[in-house]
Symmetry: C2
Subunit: 356 residues, 2 copies
């Protein structure tokens, strides 16, 4: 039996609710198979913690998390704490502090689901985004000068390093190869306007491309890519993008796959030097928090990605079977899916199906 | 009779083809009504010009354009000239040089057209984007350091000034008031990650909002906005966004309104100190250039916006009538619309309808 030490940060709002279901799934798997055991340590960091302690996480938070096998994060952010505090001081701090330079996000329409785009069916929406996750537009460098004056000016600097850009692109090319869907990688750029960062991005992409002659490629400006994802999503396989562009296009992708209730993700440190963090794409959704309305499927799909990452592919498949099975019982799903089920009932259903 | 001096820059690729139709429409109006006359001066700037002369436009190009009443631009960019040269040295140079700080783009599904999103009809897609058009992410500041070395790093700095940001937001609030659709303005931000530029943007928005108590507002992160535009486009009225965010979301918008063949736009200097430039959103589309395949409607719609801007609202309405009329003859439209018509035939049809 493999044992894993998992750090659990439910965070804020619906993060708390969906996390319970994620953990339930892991515990079910453990009981079911005896193949894995999880030792969960819960951290109450987040906006409530901030309001009490003036900080989003402990000062030595990264130190505390460092030796876990993986981190599960629910969602962060709540009215009363400015977003740039709550997110930068917890979520982005972990992503950057643990060098989780790969943000891995499947955009896939599951077989029982309806695509909002006319004429597109499951199978047409099936891509994986590899988003740079530690630098780029999110570097956090800049400032505001002459505050309040007529001449006030704000600067924000993006930082792209060769080292990280290369690693991200290698990861994406390798995935395109391993995945073996279309053997295709799309790079998202905007070099017609961002004349330094994206010209640099394109240059590294061109260098890397030479090493992967078996992978077909496309390079789209981010504006065109947003359009193509709607017009011909079936032409996308693996997509590599900067931090910001990946952020925007994966939310667009979430819309194509049935909403944020189905958008799973992972923040990966492929070097294994630090723990990776598994986190659904959705936020804390304060407007529906605490009511059992949140769809836990994104979180549970995220759990599936963690199991893959830990090397338990057949367990991961069991989780996916649970998710897909639940979709056949539409009326028992959460309200975003037109059902009458609660967050925990959906978690229950998925565990039941997994146990069959 | 009002006379206008119009600078015409067809540019590259399909820019040349659609421009002919735009000019045809203006000449038709002139003959038809006797209310306006246009004196066109053609400039052959663009990528071919670059390949011959090593520059995209004359050194004193802005000087030459300065005294026109308006500029018409087709599209810029062609294989063989790097995008960051062709676009920055012509299109962006005029936008910035003439302080055209408003990029005005309607995202509207015309009544005969089909929305790619299930359940959405014309009327559901009817918003106007006001995009900052001279600074922000497009400031062009930055560089690459330690080129080719392992430590290579690229920086790109966004610049937001209070002066321009205020003017753009005022313009957007005024439009939301004047338009009187939902009296609603959406501001696009990403302050949870871009902790200087977008925190600044939000601050100015909050200040301005206080002056427009009659306008309802929403503030969405750009990622969420991309999703909402697909999920509930009907909730958008006027949208104000930075240069880059406006760029991305208006291409997404183009997909909602039937493609780039219907995406019109204007680069406006509202102060009237410099000429404004009218330009469809689409690019030069080298892959279909020179074949009569390009849909001229975006260009003709752009002409309509120019007429509005010049104060000829009833002429602008006539152009719109021409466009809408043409949509009833689907088989005569260009191939992107499923028709068999050529670029110039569609221009003809629109002029015919206008003349009735
Ligand atoms: C909350 C926010 C900072 C975050 C991001 O922009 O990365 C989120 O949108 C995401 O995609 O994980
Ligand atoms: C061609 C490019 C520089 C331009 C932009 O990004 O502004 C275009 O995409 C647009 O939207 O007008």
């Amino acid at each position: 039996m493999k044992k894993y030490k998992i750090a659990v940060i439910p965070g804020d709002g619906i993060g708390v609710e969906v996390m319970k279901e994620g953990v339930k799934v892991l515990e079910t798997l453990s009981k079911l198979t005896g193949e894995v055991a999880f030792d969960f340590t819960w951290f109450d960091w987040g906006c409530e913690y901030y309001l009490e302690n003036g900080k989003m996480m402990d000062d030595d938070g990264l130190e505390k998390l460092k030796n876990f096998d993986a981190i599960l994060l629910g969602a962060v952010g709540f009215p009363g704490v400015p977003d740039h505090v709550s997110l930068r001081d917890l979520l982005l701090k972990i992503r950057q502090g643990f060098d989780q330079y790969i943000n891995y996000r499947p955009v896939k329409l599951l077989s029982e689901l309806d695509c909002p785009i006319k004429g597109k069916k499951p199978g047409d929406i099936d891509m994986i985004f590899i988003r740079e996750n530690t630098e780029g537009e999110y570097a956090g460098i800049g400032g505001i000068e002459r505050e309040g004056k007529e001449e006030e000016i704000a600067l924000q600097t993006s930082v792209f390093t060769r080292k990280t850009t290369e690693k991200v692109m290698d990861y994406a090319f390798d995935l395109a190869k391993k995945r073996n869907k279309l053997n295709h990688l799309t790079s998202i750029t905007k070099s017609n306007a961002l004349n330094h960062s994206m010209v640099f991005w394109d240059k590294i992409f061109k260098e890397k491309k030479a090493n992967y002659p078996e992978i077909k490629t496309a390079e789209y400006h981010v504006d065109a890519a947003a359009m193509y994802m709607i017009q011909r999503p079936e032409s996308f396989d693996v997509v590599v993008a900067s931090n910001l562009f990946g952020d925007i296009l994966t939310d667009l992708g979430a819309a194509l796959q049935g909403g944020l209730g189905f958008a799973a993700g992972a923040n990966i440190n492929p070097d294994g030097k630090y723990p990776s963090m598994f986190e659904p794409v959705h936020g804390s959704a304060p407007e529906i928090a605490g009511k059992g309305l949140a769809n836990p499927i994104a979180m549970i799909w995220t759990i599936k990605i963690m199991l893959d990452f830990l090397g338990h592919e057949s367990l991961a498949d069991t989780v996916m079977k649970g998710i897909e099975g639940s979709l056949e019982m539409r009326e028992k799903l959460t309200p975003d899916m037109g059902g009458k089920g609660s967050t925990s009932q959906v978690g229950e259903i998925i565990c039941d199906i997994m146990s069959k």
